[in-house]
Amino acid sequence: MTQYDVIIVGAGAGGGVAAGVLAEAGKRVLLLERGPHLTFGEDRHDHLRHQRFSRHGHNAGPEIEGNPRVAVDGQGQARVVRPHEDGYQNNAAVVGGGTRVYGAQAWRFLPQDFCMASLYGVPAGSSLADWPISYEELEPYYERAEWEIGVAGDSAASARHWPRRKGYPLPPLPVNTQGRALRAGASKLGWETLPIPALINTAPYNARPACIQCQYCVGFTCPVEAKNGTHNTLIARALATGRCELVTGARVARIDTDASGHISGVSYFDRGGKRQSARAEVVVCAGGAIETARLLLNSASPQHPGGLGNGHDQVGRHLQGHYYPAAIGLMSEPVYDGLGPGISTATVQFNHGNSDVLGGAMLANEFIVLPAIFWARQLPPDLPRWGLVNKRFMREAYTRVMRVTGPVQEIPSPEARVTLDPSVRDRWGIPVARLSGTTHPETVRTAAYVFGRAREWLEASGAVRVWGQPPGLHLSGGQHQAGTCRMGDDPQTSVVDRWGRVHGHDNLFVTDGSVHVTNGGFNPVLTILALAFRAAEHIAQSW
């Protein structure tokens, strides 16, 4: 059996960074990924089968058959769901993970996001808590993620909100027609705006070209590799050392422990379905907040009967993603210029300091909306769904509609959780994730407030009509899934310590969104990347 220094489970954002940092530090790394390499062209520009609109399947996995989960609704009704169906809370399962097909917004969390409990108090029934680390401790790693993976942004505008020692390596995305309209509206309201920072090359960088502004960005692979993920940065660097072995199609069944309870490696099913074992000094879990929790729970041993790291029943709790209250406005003039990715302008005016609600969200305009999505999700509620009236609205309004939304920071609940389903198994016979509960109802109030600001912004920007509806109480996770192995100093109320090390184990780490105590009012990927740089550096120095 091969002995490695480190085994990493999951080649997404957090696992990819860990692989790069550890392989370059001289470690012998085994990187296991359940999905395949996805090359451009394989995912086609199929408007009905991608990560944003999975009506009839996905372009980035996991495979539709053989990978079920169980979703429990608000009435306690459980149903088996497939990866492209509602309630699955899917994230991409390919090399690069979500970074292969994401929209690539590159936000730092704000300093206040690390101390939500201190700022707002803890509502009854919520598990809201402060992080054990501050923004200042993470800042150097945000910088590292921005420079090593590649972020385009407006350094001066960013510095007005985030203390930062260094600017962005790339100039911001160009302002588009929607951005100009929204800037004018914000100016009337006295709101400050900034360009959306993105993990996209606005100029050649890291030996890859600049963005060609195609209309397919979020949900798809980039045709020219101008979108920066771990697949074309840290994983590529790891492989270039010759010390990282990447195995795709590997479904990890459990983390193995020896007779004394010490972590010794992992067991997995290879592409051919054969069970394999690998041994290492250190195991890093980075399968995303749902699969990492599932793996820890599936790795029970005589010393850890409830699963690894789960001595205090914390693994899998506090599952959170983001609520997205979206206001949709019909403008008097076209605001579509066909220049991708389409995201342009944001405000962070309403992330904190809102009267009577906890936290808030960044608000921004939307990616270019594919026509089939526009029909399914963006039509006024009173418009007939068929006939000439519908066709004429599509024809007259597609280029005149603008959507403003943003990720509302969820107020976590311990009842929003991942457990193991007692009966449903995946293709390999492994118990699957069962998702139940909802986030805390305070999130609904914050989302309603944020919706009001989105509406106000569209109206000030010249919308002749605005529609949309803030979300009701639900469980979210999806591509922003987080929170199930939260970071903390107290093993009774957290799963990992401030370095991402699982309490009670010296050689088991988590480097994905699972460790987020709260998930910010922002797309979380830059924080996942930064935390992974920090954890991997710590592992490299400790072994």
Partner: protein, 136 residues
């Protein structure tokens, strides 16, 4: 499989969901081709629902006017569809009429507005109509 009479009804139905004007209706834009492909893959499990729903739609037209749906004039076709959309039917329906109507509407719109690679939206005609640029 759907029979020619099923297709005859389906063709008339889709052309009321997306009627022709100075841009093609659903059938001319290739939505029939989209559905034919989908019935062999993703919509295979729903083929029986289509068959039963299209037959019930025919029965509904016969019950109201004594002729088939495709032979009705446009206002009469739309009147039948509005009844089905709201579940106010007179013929016996083995499937939920409103659910059938909603699903067929969604599938027809998918075929019309998605990429031509899926079989519909011939020559990107729907995209040219609404102004979505198809630069690759």
């Amino acid at each position: 499989m759907l029979t020619p009479p099923h297709w005859n009804t389906l063709r008339a139905l889709m052309d009321r969901l997306i009627p022709p004007d100075d841009f093609p209706g659903a059938w001319e834009a290739g939505v029939g081709d989209y559905l034919a492909r989908q019935f062999e893959r993703d919509l295979r499990p729903q083929l029986e629902m289509y068959r039963l729903g299209l037959e019930a739609l025919e029965a509904e037209a016969q019950a109201s006017a004594g002729i088939g749906f495709a032979a009705l004039d446009i206002p009469a076709q739309d009147a039948v569809l509005r009844r089905i959309e709201t579940g106010q039917v007179t013929a016996p329906w083995p499937v939920d009429p409103a659910g059938f109507f909603r699903l067929v509407t969604e599938h027809v719109m998918e075929g019309y507005y998605s990429d031509p690679g899926n079989g519909g939206n011939r020559d990107s005609i729907a995209w040219r109509m609404i102004g979505f640029e198809a630069r690759e």
